[in-house]
Symmetry: C2
Subunit: 192 residues, 2 copies
């Protein structure tokens, strides 16, 4: 490989929170993405993750109200109708397999999102979830613990990565043009 694709994909894989909801994602595409998670590493190979897929408007509408969107954008309640995710992958921990998933859901989510980006989609990992309410809304048995929700769709916003300013503020923000700015720490700061 002469041209490296991973750096390009990782840069393109921003946390998107606004989508063109008219672009659908098929159940097969979601299965394909879960298969990437399936083939990714799992602590002690226990594979305790399970996945609930949603790609139809009714089910999507059951999930949406239980998610918190962009905590730092305090005057934004989340994407409006027409800009909401076309699909979701709810990552669950199967407590009958293991009560300790380590960081498996992070590994799985990254595989899923990189796969989605390559297909022209994008999304956002959401950990701020009204878990009990979502569990109830989806009729999920108690053995499953909701770990993470991945919102997916055709991104409809511009997200730019910037360097954290001297004040150290890492809060992302949206400018008057609707561009989403994400301050990232420098490489120097990250290496001990």
């Amino acid at each position: 490989m002469t041209e490296r694709l991973v750096p390009q994909l990782i840069l393109k894989n921003r946390s998107y929170r606004r989508f063109d909801e008219s672009v659908k994602m098929s159940h097969e595409t979601l299965e394909d993405l879960v298969n990437l998670a399936r083939l990714s590493a799992s602590g002690a190979n226990r594979q305790p993750l399970k996945f609930m897929l949603s790609s139809d408007p009714q089910k999507n509408a059951m999930i949406f109200p239980h998610l918190a969107w962009a905590g730092y954008l305090t005057d934004w309640a989340g994407p409006e109708d027409g800009e909401r995710p076309s699909a979701y992958i709810v990552i669950l921990g199967d407590t009958e397999i293991s009560k300790n998933v380590g960081c498996d859901q992070g590994i799985a989510a990254q595989s899923i999102l990189l796969g989605a980006v390559e297909l022209g989609f994008g999304g956002c990992m959401i950990a701020s979830i009204k878990k009990q309410e979502l569990q109830h809304a989806l009729g999920l048995p108690e053995r499953y613990e909701i770990l993470l929700v991945i919102a997916l769709g055709k991104p409809k916003e511009t997200v730019v990565v910037e360097t954290v300013a001297e004040d150290g503020n890492i809060k992302y923000w949206r400018d008057a043009q609707g561009v989403h700015h994400v301050p990232k720490r420098t490489l120097d700061e990250l290496i001990v």
Copy 2:
């Protein structure tokens, strides 16, 4: 993109535990891989992860004895001299930034390993670590919590993915030819 690369990379990205130790990895390559983690998602964009890099034999030798290798291969104490990792990335949680890293280390580790695979390297996420001893050996200040060690190098073993048999046994095993077999659950089993 007509030919999808992500599925290929994910399949190629097995957990490798034996390496051609004569193939070195430069400090610059490790920095390049950490940069992929830097540009990956972080819960609430807090970016609490820090990274300690090791690519020289002396430092590698300080890390190696504090790692547990392949728990299910009970008659194998880990890679022998010459087959050990050429480099390590130790992922740390900076508790002065946040005591809760969520699953950031999983996201970061997956980015790093996919980047490494594209460059012809490979590795293994190791969570079974004698943390106190490693912290001491590396002289790491208390503010840093060791979360994960990524062993890296030029893979020197064959790893094959298989389907979990009916008995449900997920333990990986090594055959007489030294091929490492990893049973993975089926997609059907993973989707709720």
